[in-house]
Symmetry: C2
Subunit: 396 residues, 2 copies
């Protein structure tokens, strides 16, 4: 039978990264393609202890239907966390627990955008968010990334050319895929532009707690005096992505609508996972845990960069991120980037993600690819970068 899918969905393809990840399930392949937290970064014992305690002491509370807004104690904990870590939380703000930041991003689009409305995105950007926006038939406009974040002059032009813009989507800290961080100046400028043109900002901060170098910069949400900024955070990189727990902070009027939309989407997020997050944040040494995480990622990133410095051809450029999970590499103009990535996985058995996967306008050209340092072991980093280095010298 031939199915008639909705317009919004019929053109949508599965993430290109998933296809690469399938190839990299070959045990011979060293994968720099994923974005998984390091296995050694999970506080597995603490999670096992908490889970045991909860299922002994209050099993019905952990298994019964719960509130769409989220587990009340977790909502309070995360309000405190966001205030203490990011200066977030005006009197008009409210917080809702979501099933991973991904759900917060999708519901923001669903609640704000009609079909054909414009969303302005950093280009390249996180493919999960781009596909989520595409799944509502919105018009995506990409604005180029510079080393210190989005090009704010080009952003202003894009806003002027798209009067139906509903929001600007940004990942200010250690952006996926580029690893770049938006400067303080640009954060302020993005906020000013949004305020001036009466549009919203969706600030996605999955990696903010993973800064292993340099000083924290204020979140855009912390500058929000008007209720223009929707902030999404996640437990995926600091505790466990498999639990699917994130949070969204925005003006209470917006959060009310997000809650209505979430009720339609999945009623509420897994309640045992919410209780585990709450007990971990409240009863365990979360600051000490974050310090250990940062050490793990700092070590892996530095190892990867020093091996790249040793083995990569000089004509390959790459970012030196101060946090997060990713490094963005750019090949010289004369090299065919897609052929490079294909040869890397098929001949050298090293998987990377072609930058084209992250482009806002599909079909635009890019010379870049993304590599991840959080998932591979030290041995895999050393071996894989040596192999990639050979390929850079062969092709560049």
């Amino acid at each position: 039978m031939k199915y008639n899918f909705s317009d919004r969905i019929s053109a949508l393809q599965p993430s290109a990264i998933r296809e690469i990840l399938k190839m990299s399930s070959d045990p011979q392949v060293i994968s720099f393609a994923a974005g998984n937290p390091a296995p050694e970064a999970f506080p597995t014992q603490a999670i096992a202890d908490i889970s045991k305690q909860v299922l002994e002491q209050n099993p019905i509370g952990a298994l019964q239907y719960s509130l769409t807004e989220g587990y009340p104690a977790l909502r309070e904990s995360m309000k405190d966390f966001a205030f203490n870590h990011y200066g977030i939380g005006k009197s008009f703000d409210e917080l809702v627990i979501v099933s991973g930041a991904q759900q917060g991003i999708e519901l923001t689009c669903k609640v704000l955008c009609n079909e054909k409305d414009t969303i302005i995105c950093e280009d390249p950007s996180f493919i999960g968010s781009l596909n989520s926006f595409r799944s509502y038939n919105t018009n995506l406009v990409g604005v180029e990334m510079e080393d210190d974040g989005i090009n704010v002059e080009a952003l202003e032009e894009a806003i002027k050319h798209n009067p139906n813009t509903k929001f600007i989507y940004v990942i200010p800290n250690f952006q996926n895929p580029t690893g770049k961080t938006m400067s303080y100046f640009k954060r302020k400028r993005v906020y000013e532009l949004a305020k001036q043109h009466h549009i919203m900002i969706l600030e996605d901060n999955p990696y903010g707690d993973l800064r292993f170098e340099g000083d924290d910069l204020p979140s855009i949400k912390s500058m929000d005096t008007e209720g223009l900024v929707i902030y999404v955070g996640s437990f995926s990189k600091v505790l466990s992505p498999g639990m699917r727990v994130g949070y969204l902070i925005a003006h209470q009027d917006l959060v009310s609508k997000i809650v209505v939309a979430k009720q339609c989407a999945d009623v509420h997020s897994n309640i045992l996972a919410q209780i585990i997050c709450e007990k971990f944040v409240t009863n365990y040494d979360i600051e000490g845990h974050l310090t250990r995480l940062k050490e793990v990622y700092k070590h892996k990133c530095e190892l990867m960069l020093s091996e790249m410095d040793k083995h990569f051809s000089e004509c390959v450029a790459y970012t030196r991120p101060q946090g997060g999970l990713f490094i963005w590499c750019t090949l010289p103009e004369h090299v065919d980037m897609v052929a490079f990535c294909k040869k890397a996985v098929s001949e050298y058995k090293v998987a990377v993600v072609p930058g084209s996967a992250f482009l806002v306008t599909e079909g635009t050209k890019t010379q870049s690819f993304r590599i991840n340092f959080s998932t591979p072991t030290d041995e895999q980093i050393v071996k894989g970068i040596e192999l990639l280095g050979k390929l850079t010298k062969e092709l560049c």
Copy 2:
């Protein structure tokens, strides 16, 4: 600030039931308003044991990112379960794990319907599904419920009058809110009509495993030779609703699109919960557990009905369900149903849900209200029905 919400969301209101549930959080109120499984029906020890074992033996597997399609072993188990219990599973069918049946229902609508497309629903029907359909700006057409399910002549008329119908939404077993079961004849007729008019059927079966009287009837999906039927099942009523695990079975081409949409929605469902479901279905006595559940619900339903027979005014009609969680009561024409429900909770301290909450066309009149027998204790059933009975005699 005044927010411009999307057209699809701006008119959507939080479920009326939630507002009643807030009132019924008053500890003095006996609530027949919820739809929660009985607390004594949770296999809490088994879940605690499984969870402990999984978090000891394979913590990373239970906490790391996982596949959008769902935990492979659970997908296989549920294919077997659906085949053995409901005769479901043609060679063209595939199964995807969803974050509760609610997500399967929402994604079906997202994947199949453009705005203004028609969905034909039993009237009254499950409010969570209706709101989910409304959240995509679809056109809902209600068809009246008879004692043996949807009026199939009226269904045929509705299909003819709405050539843009994408699917028919039905809950054939112990429907929410009416507790009614669709006859075998009508199941066949609904399938024939869908086939004849090239439209799909969304078969929602959250209560099918809770038949405590009479014989099982074939699912509509079991008759599906063309790939027309999308079937959603759930662990919410048989294991735990707080885990948010359900499954959707449909033609593989449809499931592929649902998977793409799910990736945008929440990447994947909580993986620990999926592993718990799988281990419970595979290693524990699931059939024995279902037998015990049915005993619990049979007892509660019979108790409530016998108390109603004793205390209710003769002019109140009500269904005698063979399974599920709900009884549907209908007041005589001269009684103001909404005033009855208000007086029940405010003066008699018994919460019920006015039937208007479940109507497909908002603003249509109904004389009915829904009561639930799974959540209250035996004592609450006896006391609450006695009080409601007094009110029926006062007002009828």
